[in-house]
């Protein structure tokens, strides 16, 4: 009897890249629903639009690069990029802004660097930063979260705003959009108000919830819960969010203790903006993160530190995207200097041991 030959191992696990991607996508759902509840249909419209653009760009680039289209299109990575970017954009961002960001993420940040597995920078964050820098005004079209003096737009009204830029009659932009809590804090701290005064301000106070921004705390809480689930299941690496959150907590706590009037409390840092989304879903993108255990701790910690620095002293209210891109740059260095000590080797041999050996030869 003749048999097929193959190299060992002859058993493999059934996991696949696409199953990882789809599990992460699944874990985004609860937080996304909370966002839709608090911030309206714009969230959903953005996601759907970004997904269509991402899949189209992906297919186009695969075709141009002469790669097999079906397996790569179905691997879920383009969809995940689209969802992460869409969740980071303002809910009433015009359609062309979402399109430009998503297309840039897929075409330039992903495929021009070699496609899945080869891109050094997180595509979603590259796309986000591109539109943030290019269209700063449109990037402020955030919807207030379910507050009494504001009305949420209906689905068809939302569609019209996003695709035509026309507001329904009797509405002004000021009535449907407002600054985010992070933005407000930044501006008002700049105007010499204390944190306490801002939180109890008659105009801005309502946007602050129990621990973070109103609405935002629920969104972050749900992303935290599903993110933890992913980490427990081993689908994402827990060290990156752990490093990020611990660092942000330590830094914000230290500064808040030092001067609670000028520095926001740690809970506010953690439960406002996209911290949990960034920590568990964006920073954990394995392609652009460090690979060694220690490297991942440092990678997460670096992002946490940069977020704090940008939020506190930088020019933008939130700095997740910049922090992640900055740490993406440091990945090769982190990987090289955090190489684990291989079995049977001494620490002193790392990472330059080979040079001595070469000399001996």
């Amino acid at each position: 009897m003749q048999f097929k030959t193959a190299t060992s191992p002859h058993q493999t696990h059934t996991s696949s890249v696409s199953s990882v991607m789809y599990k992460v996508l699944l874990a985004l759902i609860p937080g996304t629903i909370a966002m839709i509840v608090f911030f309206g249909w714009g969230v959903l419209v953005n996601i759907l639009l970004a997904c269509v653009v991402a899949l189209t760009s992906e297919a186009l680039m695969l075709w141009v690069r002469k790669r097999p289209i079906k397996p790569y299109l179905m691997d879920g990575s383009a969809l995940l990029t689209a969802c992460l970017l869409a969740l980071a954009l303002p809910q009433l961002a015009p359609w062309w802004l979402t399109t430009v960001g998503t297309a840039f993420a897929i075409i330039v940040a992903k495929h021009l660097y070699g496609g899945l597995g080869f891109n050094p920078f997180n595509p979603a964050m590259v796309g986000y930063v591109v539109v943030l820098i290019s269209f700063p005004r449109e990037m402020t079209q955030w919807v207030p979260p379910l507050l009494e003096d504001y009305t949420l737009l209906t689905f068809s009204e939302t569609l019209r705003v996003i695709f035509t830029g026309e507001l329904p009659l009797n509405y002004t932009w000021d009535a449907v959009t407002m600054a985010t809590p992070l933005d407000t804090i930044k501006t008002q701290l700049g105007l010499e108000l204390s944190v306490g005064e801002i939180e109890n301000h008659k105009q801005y106070g309502s946007m602050f919830g129990e621990i973070g921004g109103f609405g935002w705390e629920w969104v972050n809480g749900l992303f935290l819960a599903t993110g933890l689930l992913l980490a427990i299941k081993g689908i994402i690496d827990w060290r990156i969010p752990a490093g990020l959150i611990i660092t942000l907590l330590l830094l914000s706590n230290t500064f808040a203790l030092y001067d609670y009037a000028s520095y926001t409390p740690p809970t506010f840092h953690l439960f406002s903006g996209g911290i949990m989304l960034g920590a568990f879903f964006i920073a954990t993108d394995p392609v652009t993160a460090a690979t060694s255990s220690k490297g991942r701790w440092l990678f997460g910690a670096g992002i946490g530190a940069f977020i704090f620095i940008i939020r506190t002293w930088g020019g933008y209210p939130d700095g997740i995207a910049f922090a992640i891109l900055l740490m993406n740059m440091a990945v090769p260095l982190l990987d090289y200097y955090t190489m684990p000590r291989a079995y049977g080797h001494r620490w002193t041999e790392f990472p330059h041991h080979h040079k001595e050996q070469d000399d001996e030869i």
Binding site: F3, K4, P9, P340, Y343
Partner: protein
């Protein structure tokens, strides 16, 4: 009665996998002897080291256990006739090897009598010195039966600088499906313990740890009972958790002792010797029974075999016969593997002989559709499970781009090819294949380098010789020239000096002669006057 066992402290090695065992399917029935085959094909190279050379000829009658091929060097092992019969052929035949290579084999047509050659059984081996016992182990052709097939007698002689503190007997058998060591421990616990004692005596190890995975309760029970029955205090069964690859030598040492074998060293460097349970039993058989290594337990298993089981098989038995005795193939049988599913290698045919290192024949059915290979997403799952604590995705990156220097910086040669990384890879990248490729390439380059170094040295030598000869010739020529020159000079000088020296005497002679002539002339003219004068002068 419950017996309390000393609990040995255990450590962890990095990574590893929890795999489904699939062992129960082949352990239901006790081990029976495989049917004596009509024809045995015995490879003369079944071990690491030099091939043994035949000492019998075609047509010779051989007895069971008779040496048919001798080892010529230290790292080698003799080969014995597994049964009595007639040697009918000595030629190259296909042997079970990843490359499917043919090598020299001896074919024995068995006579069915299975008649033993003379056996020298010892009742009290301790009367012999360790050196003498080691010699017996060597003569018995024993090699490591865990699969590495390194000559045991060499391993039992670690050298004067490395004293063995701990003897570890490896009964872990961590690969799924394989159960021959499990069955051996269940059925031959006494021989195992006696074998352990012998090895301990030979290397003068203080204590002996028999490591068994906790998925083999029956074997643990049997071996423990044997130790208790003999009330031994320096042999201990250590139950280790079932994690693949605990049975790897380095990993097992880490689990039991927390020590690590240096990357460029051997276990004996840290005072440890590891032997497989099968090897220990073989040592017992060789010393106490005088029986060389001519058979072994083989697991025939997998979903592709009708009745999975363990058989005691004579070396040289055809695999096809063993499959037949296990009920034949399942209709979907697609892959024949020698060894386990993680580290074994596939065979293209079952018309191959069983060798000393063959512990398992695994037949797999047609696999379900496996997902396509995708690019590496750097998820690091491979690094998490790597028992050598390497960064497999970096190794892959550099190996696939043929960056052979970088790949060695990431310790390619510490990779034990256990397959954990390939197993967990979500992109289904055949990682181990890349590492094997890189290793082979580096070895080839090294060989090339050594070859070219040799050539360069030879060339340099030749050049030096030519230069030297040229110089010598030139020197000679120069000397000759110099001599000539000197001679010439000397002659010239001599010639110059000869005008006053060599020419003078002639002139002098001529002058003298002329003087004499003149004097004579003068004398001839003078005498008359002279005489006239004289007489006149005298007369006056």
């Amino acid at each position: 009665m419950t017996v309390k066992h000393r609990t040995h402290h255990l450590w962890h090695f990095h990574g590893g996998l929890k795999l489904e065992g699939h062992k129960a399917m082949s352990t239901a029935e006790p081990v029976v002897k495989a049917i004596l085959p009509k024809r045995l094909v015995v490879p003369l190279q079944q071990h690491i080291g030099d091939i043994a050379s035949p000492v019998v000829n075609v047509g010779d009658k051989v007895l069971k256990g008779q040496i048919i091929a001798e080892n010529n060097s230290y790292v080698s092992a003799p080969v014995h006739a597994p049964s009595s019969g007639t040697v009918t052929d000595i030629d190259n035949f296909p042997t079970p090897h990843p490359s499917g290579i043919s090598s020299l084999c001896m074919v024995i047509e068995t006579d069915g009598e299975d008649r033993w050659a003379e056996r020298e059984a010892l009742t009290d081996p301790r009367q012999l010195s360790p050196v003498e016992l080691r010699q017996k182990v060597r003569r018995a052709g024993i090699v490591g039966l865990g699969g590495a097939t390194f000559p045991t007698s060499v391993k039992l002689n670690p050298g004067p600088d490395s004293a063995i503190e701990t003897l570890i007997i490896n009964g872990v058998e961590c690969e799924p499906y394989i159960s021959c060591d499990d069955m051996l421990m269940r059925e031959q616990a006494k021989a195992l313990i006696l074998g352990c004692e012998l090895i301990q005596y030979m290397v003068s190890a203080h204590h002996c740890l028999i490591a068994i995975e906790d998925n083999k309760p029956e074997a643990i029970h049997q071996v423990r009972q044997e130790i208790e029955a003999r009330s031994l205090h320096n042999i201990e069964v250590v139950v280790v958790p079932t994690v693949y690859p605990s049975g790897g030598e380095k990993q097992l040492i880490k689990i039991l002792t927390h020590k690590e074998v240096p990357s460029d060293g051997l276990p004996s460097d840290i005072g440890i010797l590891v032997q497989n349970v099968g090897t220990a039993v073989a040592v017992h058989n060789a010393i106490y029974l005088g029986e060389p290594l001519i058979s072994r337990y083989v697991t025939i298993t997998g979903e592709g075999v009708q009745q999975p089981r363990n058989l005691e098989v004579l070396i040289g038995t055809q695999m096809s016969e063993l499959i037949e005795q296990s009920g034949g193939y399942h209709e979907n049988a697609a892959k024949l593997i020698m060894g386990g599913p993680m580290m074994g290698f596939t065979l293209s045919t079952d018309h191959l002989p069983i060798t000393k290192g063959c512990n398992c024949l695994l037949v797999e059915n047609t696999p379900e559709q496996t997902p396509e290979t995708m690019p590496c997403i750097r998820c690091g799952a491979c690094a998490t499970v790597c028992p050598a604590q390497l960064l497999p995705q970096q190794l892959y990156w550099h190996a696939s781009s043929k960056n052979f220097e970088q790949v060695q910086d990431y310790h390619l040669f510490d990779c034990i090819e256990c397959g954990c990384c390939s197993y967990v890879c979500p992109s289904q990248i055949p990682l181990v294949q890349y590492y094997r490729f890189a290793k082979t390439e580096i070895w080839n380059q090294e060989r090339e380098r050594i070859k070219s170094d040799h050539a360069r040295v030879r060339h340099d030598f030749r050049q030096a010789r030519l230069d030297r000869e040229k110089k010598e010739r030139e020197e000679k020529l120069r000397k000759k020239k110099e001599m000539l020159e000197k001679k010439k000079q000397a002659e010239a000088k001599a010639a110059a000096e000869g005008k006053s020296d060599a020419v003078d005497p002639k002139k002098a002679a001529i002058e003298a002669a002329m003087k004499r002539v003149q004097e004579k002339k003068a004398a001839q003219q003078k005498p008359p006057s002279d005489s006239a004068e004289k007489p006149s002068g005298d007369s006056e």
